[in-house]
Amino acid sequence: MSGGTRLENANPVIFQRSGQRLHTATEEDEDVHDPIDDREIFDILSINDPEHPLSLEELNVVEQIRVKVNDEESTVGVEFTPTIPHCSMATLIGLSIKVKLLRSLPERFKIDVHITPGSHASEEAVNKQLADKERVAAALENSSLLEVVNQCLSTRTI
């Protein structure tokens, strides 16, 4: 993103980060299978916001309650809420989420990323783009777009 353009949402509301997940005894037991659960997916989604030096969790764009995963059926659904209804970053954020999940989940998973209903002006269009595999792949061929996505996904310590 070129510096110098004005930020869309200059004063976002910041939410508190949830603490680190506590380890339980079964997680240390070698013989027990830990199914993939919502919290795990939510922890994967520690993605930076494209505009602010904050994470999507801190901006409440992603919330654990809007993450639904079913390990047995290999499906995962993530709803994200752009901070303002005309946010032009919505597609980018959605794309980052989708890419992060593609990189972090086994291939068997079917990934569905969409905007929380009622929270964005052009949610239908964005959802459609995110659901289309070819469009996503094509977007990632675009090196400047890939650059922005990678910056969002890089593990910058804030």
Binding site: L22, K100, R103, S104, L146, S154, T155
Partner: protein, 835 residues
Amino acid sequence: MLSLVEEYVSGLQDSKAKDTAKGVKDGEFTVLQLVEALGLSLTSSQPHTRARGVQLLSEVLQECYGGLTEREVEVLIAFYENRLKDHYVITPPVLQGLRALTKCTALPPGSAVSMLRSLFQDVHVQVRLAFVKQNCVFLCDSFTELKGLGADFVFGFVQSMDGERDPRNLLLAFQIAKSIVHRGYDLGKFTEELFEVTSCYFPIDFSPPPNDPHGITREELILTLRDVLAGTPQFAEFLLPLIIEKLDSDVQSAKLDSLQTLTACVSQYEHKDLAEFLEGLWASLRREVFQTSSEKIESAGLAALTALTSCLSRSVLNSDSEDSLCIFLDLVLKDCKHHLCEPDLKLVWPSAKLLQAACSASNRAIIVFIYHFNIMSAEWNTMNKPDKPFPLPCSDPMDQDNNREASEQQSHHALRQRCLSALAAVSIQPSVVQESTPVLLEVLSSAHTVSLICFSQNIVRAFFMRFVWFPFWVFHVSRLAEKTASRAVSLFLDGDVSFLPDNSFPSDIQLLKQKGDSWSQSQMVCLLMGCVCSLPRSVEVPQMDQLLLQLEELSCTCSHPPSYTSAAKCFAGLVNKRAPGQFVCTLLLVFRVYSVLDSESSSVRTQAFTLMIWVRVMLFSRGSLYDCQNLFSLLDDADLGPMAADGFSLLMSDSSDVLNRSCHADVRIMYRQRFFSENSAKLVQGFNAAPQEKKPNYLKALSNIVNKLPKQVQVTELPALLSLLLEALSCPDQGVQLSTLSCLEPVLIDPPAALIQQLEALVNRLLALTSSRAMNVRIVSLRCIHAVSRFPVLPFRARVLRALARPLDDKKRLVRDEAVQARSEWFLLGSPGGS
């Protein structure tokens, strides 16, 4: 009949009612006929006449309700309900009649509901309450359909109770509310209302007037109200903030009431009801105990804390939930720790009491507490306060333990072990030792199993090791120590039991010999070890030569591993403190041991090896040469190879129970780097020359040695051993893999040039390890792959990304976490916007 009616109604002759009733009973006329006869009076324009009419009917019903048919009852109820809408003068007899009807067995279904509904609708509050008062027991017990009324009934009740001030009525109202709550009525959306209408009286502030004829006491009211408020978890979200608020008040009785109510209510609650209020409750409880001026309040507060903790301990966890018990105890410990460690001591005792209350709640609480306690005691010890008594909450659970059933042995055994270790750790100050001694001695005397014995020897050691801390003790201690030493030696060598208090020992006790297969006596040698090896050097151990001989004999011949190991350690510990000139016997011993080791057919090779290793450890600690040729040669040995590899670990590490500074042993600084540099070449040589099946021993020895080196040394020495380490990564032994990975990991932060040249081999090996069967190996290898991503590894990117797809679906979450991080990092390699 008509005349009777007339006389009653107009003539106001009450006695006629009885006659009428008798008439009905005798069958002269039915009740319905009576109603017809009353028709005139019931429709009179004078309310009083109507009242009389109804009253006659009611009184008859009171006598005759048993004989009514269902049809009659139905009609009568309808009539009476209708009459409720009439003039208020009529209401009392109507209620009287209804009351009589409620006793009928032939009540049609739904009558209770309709009765109550009209009651609540049409009847004035005070009157209603009086009616309910007379019938409450019946209402609550027999009207099963009341539950069907559900929320309506609750609402009606709430309305009728609102604003009540008469203590008699209040008592009654509380009792009804308690019935409602306890019988699990569906409170529906009126939960909060019911709570509010009862809780506005909390805390009760009532002084009965003098000469009160009804004898209602304040305690009665308090207790009944408490039963209501604490009766159901549905009130939790309202009750807990109320309690926190009332605890703030200045009135002592209010505080006391709140605390007692809290204790009562948490016995019904689950952890989820309490979760959001834990901090507030803890803050209030803490304040009450810290700032209390009254003992009553303090003890009520502590009781509340215990109840709270046991409620949280009862909660059943699923794997995702956060453990509220841990969270709460963390809160408690954090605050109390802070006060215990402060230089200003005034809050120590209250903190200790709080801790004691919390951890006496349940076994789970004790376990959590002890984990923290060990850390805490270490910090506490640095402060050196000899004159302050330290509270020992641990001793309480151990006393309780003696009352447990045998079925709980397993878990309570583990619990005792933990209590004991905590106690041993704390037994540093003499005043503490004074208090902990009786408990520990009791444990020792009741100890039966081997593990408990060996555990106990740690405690014995703890006693003797710590006496050095106070100079003024030394004089007394050395006398004490000498006495102890001579007694112990005479006990073990000569079987002299005369000084022991209990006289039930067998007369020919021989603790340093193994009797056949039984090891119950020979295992006592670990107690001897704890005792004599920890003595100050100024104390002379009598009959040293003979003792050493016996110990050597025991350690070479006994078949019980803990016994011969303890004997070996004891031997080494004793020899260590001797002057060098007295080493002659040791050398003889060494020859003997080696001859046993050399003969492969001997049955006691393991024992001989153990003795040798400990002697070697002892020699190292005194700074003798670091020559290990024979140990290296043993790496090739068929039986002893793995043990030899582990022996290196022993050589390189500090032993905790013998041969260290706190045991007053003669210890020089171990130049591990020197050891390493003198012997690494031999190790590599040996490895290269060894046959394939012996190579793992060398690798294990190598990783044991390298692991114990200081970090800087590891980094500088590693390049020489790199190829060996890479070899170690493909060794099938998981222990070797894990230790190699753990010493590789820090090196990867700042890799030597040699490593860069071997990147492909490294990456291949690491990838292979990500599918190991051991979880830890998978985790560490993934972390190493993550770390490797910072090197020039771009050519491997595609392959690694493919290979890392598999661990993403690993069955363990911890492994998956590492895989996600590693793979994300590798994706960013060489990609625009990435690293």
